[in-house]
Every structure is written in C-alpha cells, then in structure tokens.
Amino acid sequence: MRKPDTTGEYAIPNVDARVASRPDELPMDSDAFAGFYQRSAPALRAYLVRVSGNVALADDLMQESYLRFLCASQPEGGEVNYRRYLFRIATNLLRDHWRRPRAASIEDVPEQFLVARDGMSRIESQATLDPAMAQMRPRERQLLWLAHAEGYSHREISEITGLSAGGIRLLLFRARRKIARLLRKQIDADRGKA
C-alpha cells in the first residue's frame, strides 16, 4: 500500500525520461513551451475545473502542473506523450490536494455555489453538466472527463491515474450509468421549466 503523501512528491511521476543536458537547463525552450502551452492549456484547465469544481484551485494547479512539467525531464514521444504526462502531473496534484488536511475556506467552496463566475460562458451543455458533475465523486469526474472529453483509452487513463485498466473499466461503467441518469433527469427538468 502506498504511503499517504503530504509533500507533493507524487506530483512528479517517474517516467522513462530523456536526461537534460545540464541540470539547471530546462528541456524545452521558451518559444516551444509557449506553443505547447497555447495548445494544451485550455484542455488541462477544463479538466481541472470540472474535476475539482473550483476555478481558483484549478488555476493554481494548472500553473503548478506546468512548472513541474518544465522542471522534470519530459518523456520521449512528442506532444501526445507530453500532454498525457501533463495530465498525469495534474491528476497527482489533485490527489495531493484532496489528501491534504485543510480547513474550509472560500477557496474550497465548489464553483456552483459562487455567484461570480469566471470568463467561461455558461451555455446549455454546462448548465446540464455542472449539476450532474457536482453529484459525482472526484474520482468518477476524473475518469469520465479523461475518457469522454479527452478521449483517452483505458490504458492511457491507467497511466495517468495509476489505477489498473480493469478497475477503470468497471469504475467508468458505473460512473457513466450514474451520470447518464443524472443528465436525463436534468434534461427532463429543463424541459419541464420550458
């Protein structure tokens, strides 16, 4: 059994990594990183916002994910692997966050209870998805987003979350049934209002 982590060390997973030329040099230059950031940040932020249910926390974790991604030696295999590695770091940071004992603060209030929202436009699918996601467990939210929004396979989700592929299959099956029921209920309620 893995020892509970309070230091955040799990947030940098071990991978077969390319060794950087110098220990104080980043393995990706500023321009290459800017391009990668522009392409990957919206997806990563959406994942963190949906799974954590907290915009401020998601922004903090996103920044920390990129910092750790840059400081660690990146895996070989190009941008697809970089993105998966980034999601893995973010997933571990989320896990560290949930494990950490904490006092309730305004930062911990879930997104749906805050009146002021961020720049994301609140349109139909969000209005349907948000209440349903709020009723799911964090692990279920994680698996559902990775599988259905990011389109990752069970094996890839297993690499990101550290769960076994067989376990993911079962958890995902249950989570999908649960959220589908909630979504249908929400859609029916919206139709009733209209």
């Binding site: 800017a34 940040a41 919206p42 959406a46 840059l70 259905h148």
Partner: protein, 169 residues
Amino acid sequence: MMFRTCSYEAELTQAMKDGHWPEGCGPELRAHVDGCSGCSDLVLVTQTFQHARSESEHAVLGGSPSLLWWRAQLRRRNAAAQRVSRPITIAQTFALFVYVLVGVVFIASQYRHGLHWASWWSELVPSRAQHFLPVGSGQVDWNLLLLISGFGMLALLSGLVVYLASDKP
C-alpha cells in the same frame, strides 16, 4: 449492478471519436443505440462531455507562458544549487558535531582533573575584582567559573556554526 459490455460499444466509441455519429453510421448501429441502454448512455455522456470540452477551448487563459517558463527556470536553478550545496551542508553539520563532541569531552576531562593548569588565571585576576564576584565568603571557585565560561563560549560558537551551516546560498 451487472457489468456487461455491449458488443457495439467499441464500434460506437470509434464512430463518435471520428465524428461519424450519427449521420455516418449505418441504420443497424443507430437502431441498436435506440434500444440499448448502455450505448445510449455512452452517446449521451460522450456528446455532453465533447460539447463541454469544445466550449472550454475558447476560455480565456490568465497565465503567461513566458512567466511560467521563467519561474520554472528559476526553480530548476535553485534545485540545482541546492543539490550542489548539499555535500557542503553535510560537511558543516559533521564539523559542528565533531566540534561539540570534542568540546564536551575536553571540558569534562579537565573538570574531572581539577583544572590545575588554570591556576595562573587566579593570579592574573586582581584581588579587588573579587569584590564584584557573587561569592559571599570572598572565596572564588575558579574551577566552576572556568567551566561556566567554557560552556558559554561553546554555546556561543555552536550558535555561530549553526548559523553558518544553515545559511542558504
């Protein structure tokens, strides 16, 4: 709850991934989805999540990549500097340990033998100074004084060594 995978699930997943659902799929698959609760769940959930994801693509991002890159570089350099200075810190800590050990052993051994070598000290101290010393009878226990001042000096130097050892670059 029964865990049973539908035989059409893989085909349906691939069709949605490729953007072929529903127009690009055959009537057989569409008819199956209408009647299969698992596959209709899959379609509903995947379409909702895909829609939410495509909306988030247009979200305005707050952070600047160049600032993040600069912060990462700073963090990596600090980590490298800490790695380099770790042996020095270990050596300093070891030196402190040896210093304190030698000091304690020396003072303890000298106290046990009565500090005879320090008799010259009592001759140096003017007799008038004895009036200021907190000894009521006028008799000064020089051994005790030396021991206290030795420990004081040891504590002072230990503090200095600890400060130097903990001083981060």
